[in-house]
Amino acid sequence: MNVAISNRSGAGYWWAGTVVALIGFLSYPLLFSQFPITRDVPWVNFLLFAIAALLFVLGLRHTSSNSIEWRTWISRTVLGVVSLWALWSFCFIVFYKSKQLPLAGGSPQVGQKAPDFELQDTNNQPVTLAQLLSAPVPGTQAPPRGVLLVFYRGYW
């Protein structure tokens, strides 16, 4: 009787740990990546993984070693693998993948003239760099003091 109860609560910790680990992984792209304070250093997600690890430790401590069914053993192994996969994938993205950027060593240097271009705007009208530098700022008669070119990855 006591053994059955402790195994059930062990299972509860194991499931909770897996859920928290998956939240730790998914909440980064879905929520925390939108705010610099949680994106640049993903401390909330590391905290969630730490809580998941704690739950797994508690699950191990509440498990009686001499009466685990093989089905329980398999389901806990699967949950453990899923959680480790979530942690590994998260670390891979945050510590490695996001730093894999081309060096752009050939990009124009400070002090050089910016290469000219002509591209279409959102109304399919051609716009040149010369136009951007000379067109009056809306609401004034004067051309801009400067132009900020922002190259970005795209909307997806």
Partner: protein, 91 residues
């Protein structure tokens, strides 16, 4: 102003959704992106070539006064960093 490989239609949707009023330009063949050497080959969601994040601040004569190349695409330029750089532009 913002440059990406997105089509004008896609950028229009982005601007409307977020209320952006500055200029968005489309560089679908990444020609200008290559001219500025900020190409990131195959990094798009459909493995297309896209731009890596890069910002260039030009003065009124088109000379580059400041540039920013992040080494991590999760860490992006903050508005206050841009404003600080813009203060150095001559009148």
């Amino acid at each position: 102003m913002a440059i990406s490989v997105d089509t004008p239609e896609l950028s229009r949707g982005l601007c409307q959704r977020h209320g952006y009023t500055y200029t968005f330009l489309s560089d679908p063949k990444a020609e200008v992106i290559r001219r500025y050497d900020v190409l990131h080959p195959g990094a798009g969601i459909k493995s297309q070539d896209i731009a890596r994040p890069a910002e260039f601040l030009l003065d009124s004569s088109g000379i580059i006064r400041w540039k920013y190349l992040t080494d991590d695409f999760r860490v992006r330029l903050r508005p206050d960093q841009i404003l600080e750089a813009a203060q150095t532009l001559p009148q």
